[in-house]
Symmetry: C2
Subunit: 501 residues, 2 copies
Amino acid sequence: MTQFKEIWEDVLSQPKVSKQEFKEAEPEIRRELVELQQELRNSKVSVMMVFAGVDGAGKHEMVNTLNSWMDPRGIITHAYAAEDLEATQHSPFWKYWRDIPAIGQLGLFLSAWYSKPLLGRVHRRMSEKDFKEHLKEISEFERTMTDNGILVVKVWMHMDKKAQLKRLNELSSKPDTEWEIKPGAWENWGMYDRFIEASTKIIRASDKAGIPWLLVNGKHRYARQLTVARALRDAMRHRLQNPPVDNSLTPTEWDKKMSPTRGSLRKMDLTKSLEKSEYKTKLKALRVRLYQLQHKAQLAGLSTVLVFEGQDAAGKGGAIRRLVQGLDAQQYQVVPIAAPTKAELAHHYLWRFWQHLPRKGRVTIFDRSWYGRVLVERVEGFATDAEWQRAYQEINEFEQQLINSNYVVCKFWIQIDKEMQLARFEERQNTPYKEWKITDEDWRNREKWDVYDVAVDDMISLTHHKQAPWVLVEGNDKSWSRIKVLETVCQQLEKALKTHT
Amino acid sequence: MTQFKEIWEDVLSQPKVSKQEFKEAEPEIRRELVELQQELRNSKVSVMMVFAGVDGAGKHEMVNTLNSWMDPRGIITHAYAAEDLEATQHSPFWKYWRDIPAIGQLGLFLSAWYSKPLLGRVHRRMSEKDFKEHLKEISEFERTMTDNGILVVKVWMHMDKKAQLKRLNELSSKPDTEWEIKPGAWENWGMYDRFIEASTKIIRASDKAGIPWLLVNGKHRYARQLTVARALRDAMRHRLQNPPVDNSLTPTEWDKKMSPTRGSLRKMDLTKSLEKSEYKTKLKALRVRLYQLQHKAQLAGLSTVLVFEGQDAAGKGGAIRRLVQGLDAQQYQVVPIAAPTKAELAHHYLWRFWQHLPRKGRVTIFDRSWYGRVLVERVEGFATDAEWQRAYQEINEFEQQLINSNYVVCKFWIQIDKEMQLARFEERQNTPYKEWKITDEDWRNREKWDVYDVAVDDMISLTHHKQAPWVLVEGNDKSWSRIKVLETVCQQLEKALKTHT
């Protein structure tokens, strides 16, 4: 145990605060917090404050204190319990993504993302390897939050073994507090050494620049309240005064880095096509195959995420409709992605996609997707250079989380050439019931064909992975592209079912 | 069976449409639908289209057709399956409320609210009485939608017993369609007569003015597609051209109707108070009692909804904090209600409250609530006369649904007098960390004290019920009001636990 001691000794030496001192300090810190909350409300920042640590060290009390000191209309408290059945149908971080606060808001998180590795390790339900893997995912999650303007404040409330015993005894001896002792609290206390060992590893692995842990001595009530409140004040003040550092590459630097990998689109053979009769035969057979595979996937609890991207008029919608016609409506959801709503803009850009992820055994088909960040948002300047440049990594980590939860992930880029697009645009314009499909924006996008080409090339080389592949689909002939999509989905499902069962 | 025949004979005599006729009609109806969708997008209307009827009669196909004919970005398809675990933790209509489309949107609903009574009655899982009760709830649900500007289009796809047999045989003989035959389809066919009997009752009970059923002959593919598409066109056109009829009472008529019931607030004895020492003793004891009761309620799967209303500075926040300090954070959620967001404004006004209802065994505390419709929205004119006047019934029906699902519902009105409000406003203004609590709006509201009084009186007399009572809390003395709230919650939980177990 000695090797962990040094971390905790400092914490335990944090001094007591007298009632008198507390009473004197309280009005000032409350005023400061309320003012900062007002500033927060008018900013682009949101705050996620996560509490972890020893049972009985005052986590719940602190949440109540902050709720009474600040305006509760700007605070959302999330305390996670096993009864959240919907969450059991999704990957581990789904519920935290669902609950990230909108800009201007403060989210307080109890029994949140540190509970699983901590208790998992204490009770040896989690191997050392899975523990490390999970901590890595936590770091990615927190970094993704921080990079996108969210302030993450982490508070660890500590007590030594003797003090915890005393607290547990105190709490359980009074009828109005005994409920605070959760089932398992005594058992956890009995494993105090393991608890500290796991805590130390967690803190070492997750104490990062910009996302440090605040370690608090939970022994003294007044002291711990002031310490936490002041840390929140300092973190908010610092974040509101210091916008994140822009460490993006210049366009020239980016081009230099990426240009050797470009050109995959130009290698595509867009003359590929299929006879009408062959198309019809194949389509029928593939629908049967797909239905049967999806039925097996459902039984196996295997979820599928399909992404469709492509130029305007490339045939995304048509390919998706051919795909779903063979599926049971209860099994899939098609999510067409348009410009973000106000509520979506007030959240992390990946937030809205997390909302639509399929639960276990189901399929979600995205007609356009999170790749908008590195396509339209990059080209049109809706995202800053820093934002779209770091998005590739964020997207890779996002998809990796799905893969870790046994999702089938497959991404289709449907490519047509400029002549074909023009022909289809004109056909749309000349067909009364298709005219709505063509807008001025489509014509404007067409003028930026080459710029989009570069963005697509970069996207494919930076986010193509064996388990979340980009499938390049030759789209000039619709029969060809539809069959290729269907065949690929079947193959991916077959492969996944083989590995999974 | 003869007594039901007449309804269905007309349906079955709907004629066939040739391929040629269909091809000629298709461009026109597509263009019309697309244009209406565009109009819808710029309106305050949304559309809920629900499909029901005989298996194999083309419901799913019709959903695909509409998705391919119209802009899928304006359509959301919901097909309900038993795997929606979160929905099992809520009252029956929760999932439909969750999914009502935003203004401008078209929602397509499969296996939705008519499935439960239909299959429940066919398989005799539901008594005649529950069946009728459920149909009543459906009618209330649809009327609430319609009254609030949502167009509800109901399509029943029918076939006779022989035609259904033929269709089932056809579908199951081809590998690319056999999956469409759900487990239970043959069994349902075997109970065709019961199915028609239940269907007839459903249609008779739910075919209302403004929300009629479209009965469609599902035998002929081209005919059924055109019939449904044209019915949707006609309904949308009619709704977009005809705003709902305003049948509100004039202020004089309303006053005449309500004035005899007013005055409950003036009868309150606001001098009621509690000694500090008694307060402390009671508070401690009540917290223990509340915690234990909530623990039992959780085990019993009993959910609780608490509503707090009251004048500005009446002490809602303080009462809520005293209440939750004795509860486990995983067991409750406090939802402070501020002005609606843009997304909330784009939905039915009750939509945002449904989102926050507790799952089984949990507690949600609303700091202000849906009663805003008949308080601030009435007084400030944010709701039209027709809107706030019908809101009482909508709210009663909403709360009745919760009660039917064994929720504990309790509503607190905390009342202070004008002098006390002034004293508290001034105290807030003179305390730096409380200054944020007082705004110009609070002072403006204060000027309308008497108008609010009338609205509160009306609210209490129109929405007070034994199972969802309004508890009038004397708020001049905070100790008194906090204890009264805690005591009432304990009593309500005790009563519910007694009835429930």
